[in-house]
Amino acid sequence: MANIAPQLYALLVFMVIGSIVAIETRNLLSAVISVSAVGFALSVAFLFLGAPDIAITQLVVEVLVLIILIRGTILLDNTAVDTHRDTLAVVTSLIFFGLILGFGAMIFGSRGFPEFGEPVMRVSKVYVQTGLPATYAANIVTAVILDFRAYDTLGEATVLFTSILGALALLRREGKVSREEVVAA
């Protein structure tokens, strides 16, 4: 039994530090690159956690996110503006988030939540046991997303279709026809 906790903690700490850099740096290019580093660390964490499917997907999506963010936005304007640092708002939000964190620590420390490494797996047991004989797919994750829960995947494909269509609609040349053309038509 390999204990993955040390590696996982190291990755999580790396992710937290990377996020701090991404949030606080004043150069947008550095911010985007640090957030991508966080994404790659996440991908490695998925590998440790026994999710190679997700690791591959996260990796390729990360590459695409990096390219889109850099090509789409950073090349236009690279400076992170901070016109007037609203100290009061920052302090209030920090206190608020501190409260959330305290609350979260309380919840996860209580006995109401299953321990790390001991999932309930009430329904998933069925997937693991009958996945191969019922669907003939050796990859149980694929069996879940494309057979047991294929309807969700229809939704997933539709979400992507919707957002791409939305993005294409927003990037069209002119929003409105000029008034004269309408009158003429």
Partner: protein, 115 residues
């Protein structure tokens, strides 16, 4: 338990970025960080100590099935990553369009509407 807690830390950091930063690209980054946090949270929920990836091989002993990690959260995360990518590209489209109108990524300059 500390693992869950670090996930929540990551989530609140994304939220902080969203609230405190004026630059709209920074806001996009905040959303991306929040997505990471939630995806990691879901996968950690499904992890089993000493678990292996839920992929069956032809010559695998039947007892290995007991050691599989939970496949359902992985299916959810796959969907969630795709949704995140879709929302991100829509956001970038809006950002670039806003930049065209205002010549800046600064939300306090862009914001004219009264709430």
């Amino acid at each position: 338990m500390t693992v869950y807690f670090l996930c929540v830390v990551l989530l609140t950091m994304g939220l902080y970025c969203l609230v405190a930063k004026k630059n709209i690209v920074k806001k996009v980054i905040g959303i991306v960080i929040m997505d990471y946090a939630v995806n990691l949270y879901l996968i950690i929920i499904g992890y089993k100590t000493g678990g292996v990836a839920p992929i069956i091989e032809a010559d695998m002993p039947l007892s290995t099935l007991e050691r599989f990690v939970d496949p359902l959260p992985q299916a959810l995360v796959l969907t969630s990553i795709v949704i995140g990518l879709g929302v991100m590209s829509l956001m970038v489209a809006m950002c670039i369009r806003l930049y065209e109108k205002h010549g800046t990524f600064d939300m306090s300059v862009i914001s004219k509407l009264r709430g």
